[in-house]
């Protein structure tokens, strides 16, 4: 049976879904970007996302408190802030090896969210979730309206966060301090910047955004929680920060590319696209997002790396 929809309809639907799927990547990656620009590699994003995903959908479900989704979001932000605080304490105050402590945080989040899910929710949560909002006027635009302006509020917020992040990093005192402590903490310290405090705030902000990323996955994208439902998105978010060369705009491009490749793979199967009358083997299609990512990475190789010089290096006053 031929599809009753035109190619344009399909493209519009696919593009809209790509933006929605990019939302958790964007939140998590932008949060990680702030942490890394301050010099802290937080590999705990995956664990924070899981805790945000569980707590938000739990409080809004009838197994929790039937709370408004806004409350769910706030709870996810709070949980993210607390886990960010844990990461900051271990990596900044205790100066522990960052890669290891981040993995520890991820394992903690995986175990804790699974435990709470089973104990508090008996292994099943389904909640109404977050409604899509048509932006006035804009959503009536032909084509563009359906793609860009028929999304849930978290997707709008995620994309709005990109220019905001650029502005904060480049135009505010705090942003300048974040970049300074990530690049040359000794110099920043001698200028009177409290390195530890700036790193704490950047890592906690990263935790808050990772919590929101998890909430967007559970409350907005699926309306359910499942054990380990982030399925590696937290680690992909960390990779997107490197991929995007620590620039919010490029991180956004990476998030869109990855979601689009994933989406394309699903669409080829949904539409039952055939080559010379034969279905394309699903194993080939499943590889597509990864192959595309590798190809893009190869072509993006010469791009100047702007890795923060003090990334993963703990700071101790007077060590030089």
């Amino acid at each position: 049976m031929e599809s009753s929809r035109t190619l344009l309809d399909i493209l519009i639907a696919a593009s809209g879904l790509t933006l929605a799927a990019a939302t958790p990547f964007l939140f998590a990656a932008l949060g990680e970007l702030f942490a890394q620009r301050s010099g802290v590699l937080n590999l705990g994003v995956e664990g924070i996302m899981l805790m945000g995903a569980f707590t938000s959908v739990f409080v809004i479900s009838d197994k929790g408190f039937n709370a408004h989704p806004a409350v769910g979001l706030l709870v996810a932000m709070l949980v993210g802030a607390l886990m960010g605080l844990m990461m900051a304490f271990v990596s900044v105050t205790l100066q522990a090896e960052q890669g290891i402590s981040g993995i520890g945080l991820t394992l903690f989040g995986q175990g804790m969210s699974t435990l709470l899910f089973r104990v508090l929710a008996a292994g099943v949560i389904v909640a109404g979730g977050v409604e899509k909002i048509d932006l006035p006027v804009l959503s009536n635009l032909p084509v563009l309206g359906s793609i860009f302006f028929h999304q849930d509020i978290l997707t709008y917020a995620a994309f709005a966060l990109v220019p905001i992040s650029v502005w904060v990093l480049n135009r505010t005192t705090w942003g300048l301090q974040v970049r300074a402590v990530g690049q040359n903490p000794q110099a920043a310290d001698s200028m009177g910047v409290n390195v530890a405090r700036v790193r704490y705030s950047a890592v906690i902000l990263g935790g808050v955004l990772a919590g929101v990323a998890g909430a967007s996955l559970s409350m907005a994208l699926t309306g359910v929680f499942q054990e380990n439902m982030t399925a590696g998105r937290g680690f992909i978010a960390v990779a997107l920060v490197y991929f995007g060369g620590w620039s919010p705009w490029k991180v956004m491009a990476g998030a869109l590319l990855f979601s689009a490749a994933n989406n394309l793979q699903i669409w080829v199967q949904v539409l039952d696209v055939r080559v010379a009358g034969a279905a394309i083997p699903p194993n080939l299609l499943i590889m597509l997002p990864y192959v595309l990512t590798i190809v893009v990475l190869i072509f993006a190789r010469e791009r100047q790396r702007r890795e923060p010089a003090a990334l993963t290096k703990p700071f101790e006053r007077g060590e030089n």
Binding site: A21, T222, A231, W267
Partner: protein
């Protein structure tokens, strides 16, 4: 005459009784030990169903039993060894991924019996049996139901990684749908993970946008994500492995439970139970050591779950019972290779006429 007949029956009964006394076998085992795949015995996956089968057999046959929950694939062999060291009579290993460790342990310990769930053996020692399932039959039932419930003529399945068990479900589903309606448009989407409900939901949404009005989810949590999205969007959904009405839909408490029309069931508990029973009865032939025990419609190893709160009409359920009976007695064949899951020769495709 009547008295003579009675006498004859009495004599025969005594003789039969004596013979069965003589041939009554000693139980081969008195204890069982289960090693899960990564997961737990209450995690809602085959780990749990295998455990339930063992638990039922242990209480029915008064066996000592225990289990070890595996936390990492590197622990497969050590966990099996712990069961052996504790001198359990039979060891159940759950999952295809434990196949190599199970085979090695069975070869090294010929006095211990091994039951490998979702494992298949070509050359195995007599003390080891693989327990396999005809997922294609289960999928066939799901497809037949989907085709009967569909109004648009477009049905779909959301699957995990295309391993043989998943491909069997998929091809069985499409064959079952074609059995009801040869012109049915059956779409399928494979996702590269068994644990990604968000992508499953996204695929379901896209398939629904394409006109699919029944979604079959066969891929762990990815599939569950797909059927949850379908059900909350008021589109018919079909679960897999166990009756997802009780797991994914919380016994009817979760939104959309009235759109779950069935689940393509795979009775892992039954497979484990029957294997233990054979060992307790000392029946090596029934145990099937050295090969595989195949759980099919014929031995109630695969079936379809009841409609619960959904609006499946009685005549549809009646047709489903007929198809199940046909799969049981072999008058209906799925047309799917029961090992690889690939479609068999197109000539053998079942049609309404052929099955009469």
């Amino acid at each position: 005459m009547v008295r003579k007949t009675f006498l004859l029956i009495a004599i025969i009964s005594v003789l039969v009784g004596a013979v069965s006394l003589v041939s009554a076998q000693e139980p081969l085992i008195e204890s069982v030990c289960l090693v899960t795949d990564v997961g737990k015995v209450n995690d809602g996956t085959f780990n749990q169903f295998a455990f339930e089968g063992m638990d039922a057999a242990a209480s029915d046959f008064d066996l000592e039993s225990t289990y070890i929950e595996t936390t990492a694939p590197t622990d497969y062999a050590p966990n099996i060894q712990r069961c052996i060291d504790s001198e359990y009579g039979a060891i159940i290993t759950v999952g295809f991924l434990l196949q190599d460790a199970t085979l090695a342990a069975a070869e090294a310990n010929p006095d211990v019996y091994f039951i490998g769930v979702d494992q298949g053996y070509e050359m195995a020692p007599e003390n080891l049996v693989g327990v396999q399932f005809r997922e294609d039959q289960s999928g066939f039932l799901a497809g037949a139901l989907a085709a009967q419930m569909s109004e648009s003529g477009v049905i779909a399945g959301v699957y995990g990684i295309p391993v043989p068990a998943v491909v069997k479900f998929q091809n069985g589903y499409e064959q079952g749908a074609k059995y009801i309606n040869p012109d049915i448009d059956a779409r399928s989407v494979f996702i590269q993970s068994f644990t990604d409900p968000a992508q499953g939901a996204e695929a379901a949404e896209q398939l629904i946008a394409e006109g699919a009005d029944v979604i079959f989810g066969a891929g762990g949590q990815t599939g569950s994500g797909a059927i949850q999205r379908a059900a909350t969007d008021e589109v018919y959904a079909i679960g897999v492995d166990q009756d997802e009405y009780f797991s994914t839909f919380g016994g009817g408490e979760s939104p959309g439970a009235e759109y779950l029309i069935s689940s393509a069931m795979k009775r892992v508990d039954q497979g484990v139970y029957l294997s233990i029973e054979a060992l307790v009865e000392g029946d090596m032939e029934a145990f099937g050591g050295g090969g595989n025990r195949v759980l099919s419609a014929e031995n109630d190893g695969v079936t379809f779950a009841p409609a619960h709160d959904s609006d499946v009409p009685e005549e549809v359920t009646a047709t489903m019972e007929e198809i199940l009976a046909g799969l049981k007695d072999g008058t209906i064949e799925t047309g799917v290779d029961p090992v690889t899951g690939e479609l068999l020769d197109m000539e053998m495709m079942p049609t309404e006429e052929a099955s009469g």
